[in-house]
Structures are given as structure tokens and as C-alpha cells.
Symmetry: C2
Subunit: 221 residues, 2 copies
DNA sequence: GCCAGTATTTGAACACGTTCAACTTCGGGA
DNA sequence: TCCCGAAGTTGAACGTGTTCAAATACTGGC
């Protein structure tokens, strides 16, 4: 590891530590720099803004999520426990940073931010998250129309983003309300997906797939 | 109008003007105060933060939306053109502030912000928006299960919030992509709602209503 | 070893949102 | 009319994220 890589790693480590203990606002760039043993300007040499430090934090959460999911993906075959398990692992992994997450989320929601959930900068993490959902689908017993199945990982990722949105606003202790949402909503989603085989519903499902396809490249592109 | 009301109105007018011309970030509190002919501290006497000024901006958009909807509500009976019309009026009304909207949207997504779509501060506007959706449902020919019908205004408001989310990211000229989304998605929603009368689907709809009811008081309450 | 050019590092300086102690104006009861 | 508490107003001061010209360390060619 080169010297500059060490400096970069030290800044990320300092930021992560301070974010976890004090939250986003209370963590100043001056404090991060001091903790990392560098100057303020140096931190900006490696990270364009305070937001970019958050992206590194998000990557850590995703890596932990992926690792935590392996057990679920190896053992669960049925779609409902498989998807529920994956979402619950995320809740476990993210719990310790919930307070901080609210601050993080506003950056994820700002279209012009490099940290936007749809931004090119966050594309690698986003695509890895969608790939995880593809594993959820492929390894399950779920039977849906092929056209829908193809778009399902993206749709499930959007479902996960919906859960995260709910979670961010959830101040119940231990995030029990979000957990309740997951346990209730996943079986409903399962029913809904299987219902696409009912003649009167299949046409609607096809419409949804068509709509998603026509918009999948992003609103503004 | 009392003196203090005049001062408050002057600050709102100054903020609105500067927001429209220069956007959110470029509009400083010092500039707002100067434009309104008051001191910086005085602006904070009336508005707790810069974000609270945006709330006043929201209210202006909603008032224009409500007014613009009267024609649609008076003439359209069928659910699809009725809801489509209401959403399109919103797009018309909001178009001029699209650039500005992207900048402040991050505040609307932050749970702790007074601008959050679920915050107590925005409750009056939010409830008025839901009431508008109730008028859309009540005056239409839509037939759904009574249990679902009761929650429908809230669900339609959530749909509208989804549209706004898409709209914020939409940089196509004239927001054609969001308009395309509305024209495609509303008929699908209509089909989906009417499909709740199919035996195999009704049970799912009931599940959704139960879920929404159990969560309707908000994630954290 | 030496130099030129690049990469890295520094911290003072800037503009911002926000706070607050002090000041001024207002309203209504004696 | 006078007075006092409340309401309204002020602008300097604070801590923040970010910038930048300058200083320093590094690297490859000779």
C-alpha cells in the first residue's frame, strides 16, 4: 500500500469512526482531519466533499450486507424467507448507523449530488446491489412470466430502496416497525408476483414491465 | 394587515423572488434580508431557518395547483382522465420551479428537516393535498372495495409523491418523460384498482389495506 | 547527485447559516 | 402621561464546509 493510499485509508477510517460515534453534523471536517492526522485541505485533496466520505461509509455497509447474506442465500430456497432474510440482514447491518443515515439519505436523494442513488459515481455499488437481488430471484422457487423475471432484480432493488426510505423515517426502537413492514409486505409481494399468472392480471403485469422498460434508462436520459 | 404581518410577507416575497431567479443555494439569508429591507436576525425571528422559507414556497405551489384543478374536477368524471388531469396540472404549475426544486429536494427527504414530507410543520399542506385526492376519488366513477376506497386518497397522494420524486430527477425538456410516465401509469393503476374485484386479487388488496392501516400513523409513531 | 516537473500537504481565508445579548418599539393599565 | 413587560429588531460573532496560493515531498531522467 502506497503512502497516498494509506493517507486515504486513514481519512476514511477517521470519518467512519466519527460518523458512528457522533453522527453526520457533529462530525466536522476539521475533526476528521485531526483524527486522521492530516490537514483539512489534505482531506479535500482526496475527497471532493464531506458527502464523498459518506459514500465510502455506504460501501462499507453494502460489503457487510453482502457478506451477511451468504448464509441466507445458501440455505433459503423459498422466495418469501429468501427475500425477507436478505432485507432483514440489511436492517441488522445498518441498525448501528440509523441515526446517521437520515443525514446520509438527503444526499442520496439530491439529483445533482454525486451520491444520488442514480448517479454515475454510485453506479458500481448500485449495480452490485441489483446483482444481489438477481441472486435472490435466481436461487428461489419463484415462478413468474419470463418478461417480468428479467426486470425483477431491478424491481426488487426499488422495493429495497422503498424499505430504506421507510427505515430512515422509522424511529421505533430496534426499527421494529420496519421489520414488521418487511414481514408483512414480502408475502404480499409474493402473492402479487404469483398472481401475474391469473389471466386478468397478466396483462397488467405486462403493462408494468413495458413501462419500467421505457423508463429504465433513467428519467432524464 | 398588522406591521409584523407585513414584515413576514415582505420576507416571504423576497425569498420567493430570489429563489425563482437564483435557486436555493445562491439565495443567501443576507440577500433575502436585504431584499426584504430587514436585518438577518429579524428574518430568523419569523422563520426558524432557511428551510422554513421554502415551506412558504411549497404553499404557493399547492395553492396554484388547487386552483388549477377546479376545472378538471368539475368536468372529468372518469377516473383515468380525472387523476391524469390533476397530476398534469401539478406538472404545469411546478414546471417554472423545476431547477430550484432539485436543489431543495434533499431537504424534503431528510426526516429531521421541517421540509420533510412527513414533518409536523408540513402537515397542513400535506393534509390538504390528501383532501384533494379524496375529491378525485369521490367525484369519479371508480368502483373498488369500500375498505380500499377509504385508504385510496392517501395511496394516491403517495403515488403523487412518487411522481414528484421522478420529476425531480427528470431533466428532459418540458418534463416530457414525467408526462409520459403519468399517461402510462395512471391507466395501469386504474386497471389494478378495478382488478381488486377479481376473487384471487381481492385478498391481496385486503392485505395491502391492512398493511397500510397498521403503518398509516407513520413509521416511527 | 542534481534538476524539473508532478504529487501531495498545509492552514489561513472566505462565505455561508445561525445565534444571541443588547437595543428599540409597541400596547395598555394605573 | 407615565411606565413596564412583551414584541420586534439589530448586527456582530460563532462554527461550519470549502477553496487556494504557497510550501513541501516525491519521482524519473541525466
Amino acid at each position: 500500500m502506497s503512502k497516498s493510499e494509506q493517507t486515504r485509508a486513514a481519512i476514511v477510517a477517521a470519518a467512519t469512526k466519527l460518523f458512528r460515534t457522533g453522527g453526520y453534523d457533529a462530525t466536522t471536517m476539521r475533526a476528521v482531519a485531526k483524527e486522521a492526522g492530516v490537514s483539512v485541505g489534505n482531506a479535500y485533496y482526496y475527497f471532493g466533499s464531506k458527502e464523498h466520505l459518506v459514500l465510502a461509509f455506504y460501501d462499507e455497509i453494502f460489503a457487510a450486507h453482502l457478506e451477511g447474506c451468504e448464509g441466507v442465500l445458501a440455505t433459503e430456497q423459498a422466495f418469501v424467507p429468501r427475500l425477507t432474510g436478505v432485507l432483514e440482514v440489511w436492517l441488522d447491518v445498518a441498525e448501528s448507523s440509523h441515526e446517521f443515515a437520515g443525514k446520509f439519505f438527503k444526499h442520496a436523494a439530491e439529483p445533482t449530488s454525486p451520491l444520488s442513488v442514480f448517479s454515475p459515481e454510485s453506479a458500481p455499488t448500485r449495480e452490485a446491489a441489483i446483482a444481489l437481488m438477481r441472486r435472490v430471484v435466481d436461487g428461489s422457487d419463484l415462478k413468474v412470466a419470463p418478461a417480468l423475471r428479467q426486470e425483477l432484480p431491478l424491481l426488487l432493488w426499488l422495493v429495497q430502496m422503498g424499505m430504506v426510505l421507510f427505515w430512515v423515517y422509522d424511529d421505533s426502537s430496534g426499527r421494529t416497525r420496519t421489520r414488521q413492514l418487511v414481514r408483512q409486505a414480502v408475502p404480499i409481494l409474493d402473492k402479487l408476483l404469483r398472481a401475474t399468472r391469473i389471466p386478468g392480471v397478466r396483462g397488467i403485469a405486462d403493462d408494468v414491465v413495458t413501462l419500467v422498460r421505457s423508463l429504465v434508462s433513467g428519467p432524464g436520459r
